[in-house]
Subunit: 343 residues, 2 copies
């Protein structure tokens, strides 16, 4: 796990506030999470050594493990006592990792979580193919588990993610992208897998439809909030944020919410600037600083956070049906954490 | 047009505030709106007298004409100077009216806009068939106009509306309905036609994709905000609100946002209450008052309004691309009006 540096710390809050909701969730699910990490390390290997090397490079490097964590939490929230969810949480992380590998190839990214990306280190070809391997391995794990319902949920999610990635390709560098189109991309490429990870908890635990729906609502809206804040952090994160330099999305011409709002709220001159840097990809020294200044003056960064807060509120409310527990509280607090985090 | 009684009046605001953003929009589009009303009256008739009688009963009775108004406003915002939009705005209103006729049959509603519903007055059979007639008439008008793009947008919207109505049937009386499922119904049954009405403005005016997307975003999000507030008003509207008694949705067991939030935030005892009145449809004197009390104490009504405000904010931002004008300001203000209205 990456070191967690909550926003509260940067704001000099009381020491007890430095334990984030995500830390709490990790602590509550510690044994489960260790079992999943074990499963991941064990199942990412193959007889072809390059596969294990490349997979280890990206998976073992860490990350927040948000999606498997959600699958574990949802399963325990539904009162499940067995161990099936370890395999399925690993499957969810493999699907996510496969999309990361392919994303980095598509975006020609050189860095991932502060280290050389797999494509930078191993080349594009093995990155694409190991992505395919992890994707197939995810389905092998699900087949071993044997639930057609889980297979249906995660195969649907995978199809939607691919659609979302293609949709995102078509909006990249298109300064006319609408907020609605952005939300549709976010729903598909991020929120759908969060929702699927949460839903499988209710499926494994054989809980009523209402709980599956509540968990779908939680995951989907948490995922939207998470992605919006990710896109905000790409312009606002501080040095202590691990693994990414700010402005990556800017340099790639990604049409994220802060950019969309800044364009909508800008003057003619501002729009000419966005047209040059995003659509024409003609960027000069000082452009990123100017972009951030425009986003701050127009309230685009603040209001992107407000938009995220709406989805987090829906996520929080959706868990109301479950009996009170530490796990439920932690999941509800994670919805706020996702909006207020600094990394 | 129904008399407009803005919320500001009830709050004893300054006299100049009694002109709502919707009034302003109506004034700006007065000539267009009269032409559309003319078109509607002229084209709802047929050689079969019962069709004209029944159609006149529901259409001539008024309503806010929100959808044709949006089609007109979007078209003018795009700088269009011709008259094609009158026919298409009438088509949009016919599609909407067809769904109202069918809704009232499905819900066995006796009242619509404060008068006997068409099904109450003429019976179910002619209501269903005249709905079909108006639906077909809408497509005749579009074919006369001749744009396959407009036909594509409105035929897609019609298919989505029907899906939304069927989806709503499946959630009615299901107290386990999630906020996400509610939003999906609202998107389909209401927001999609708002979005389509707005988009055709850009199509008729042959404007770039960015403007069509901006108008789609505006219409879709305005429609969601509009429907959420409609659902809130079903519990909160005052006597001066025209044409509906409060509690209709409650009596029908409709799972609208205030109910969903009240259930999520309720105690076990509260949930037993909702189960009895919504799922089992076993309602007694005082139940509506108790329901409203639960919604008020849990903040469900207030937060439903806050949810609506999020979509209104997206709608407002989406028009940023258009040059400043009275019409643009009126449309942006309509987004706030839709949330703050009292009727």
């Amino acid at each position: 796990m990456a070191t967690i540096i909550p926003l509260e710390k940067a704001r000099n809050a009381a020491p007890e506030k430095t334990v984030s909701a995500l830390d709490t969730l990790v602590q509550l699910l510690d044994a489960d999470l260790q079992a999943v990490n074990q499963m991941i390390l064990q199942r990412m290997d193959s007889d072809v050594p390059l596969i294990g090397q490349l997979a280890r490079h990206i998976i073992a490097a860490g990350g927040k493990r948000m999606r498997p964590l959600l699958a574990l939490a949802a399963t325990r929230l539904c009162g499940y006592e067995g161990a099936r969810h370890h395999k399925l949480a690993a499957a969810v992380e493999f699907i996510h990792t496969a999309t990361l590998l392919h994303d980095d190839v598509v975006d020609a990214s050189l860095l991932r979580r502060g280290r050389a990306s797999a494509n930078a280190l191993f080349g594009n070809q093995p990155s694409v193919l190991v992505g395919d391997f992890l994707f197939s391995r995810a389905f092998q794990l699900m087949v071993e588990d044997g639930s057609l319902d889980v297979l249906r949920i995660l195969s649907n999610a995978s199809a939607v993610i691919s659609q979302g990635e293609v949709l995102q390709l078509t909006t990249q560098n298109d300064s006319a992208t609408s907020e609605q189109a952005y939300l549709e991309v976010v729903n598909a490429k991020t929120a759908e897998l969060f929702a699927a990870a949460c839903r499988i908890g209710a499926v494994i635990a054989a809980r009523p439809w209402a709980e599956e729906e509540a968990l779908r609502t939680y995951g989907l809206n948490l995922g939207i909030a998470f992605q919006i804040v990710d896109d905000v952090l790409d312009y606002t994160a501080q040095e202590e944020r691990l693994g990414k330099t700010i402005g990556d999305d800017f340099r790639e011409g990604k049409m994220t919410l802060p950019v969309i709002l800044a364009i909508h709220r800008g003057t003619e001159a501002d729009r000419a600037f966005w047209q040059r840097v995003i659509a024409e990809q003609n960027q000069r020294d000082g452009d990123l600083a100017h972009a951030i200044d425009l986003m701050q003056r127009s309230g685009a960064l603040r209001d992107s956070g407000e938009r995220a807060r709406h989805y987090a509120a829906i996520a929080r409310d959706s868990l109301g049906l479950f009996p009170d527990s530490c796990l439920k509280t932690a999941l509800q607090d994670v919805a706020d954490f996702v909006v207020d985090r600094a990394f």
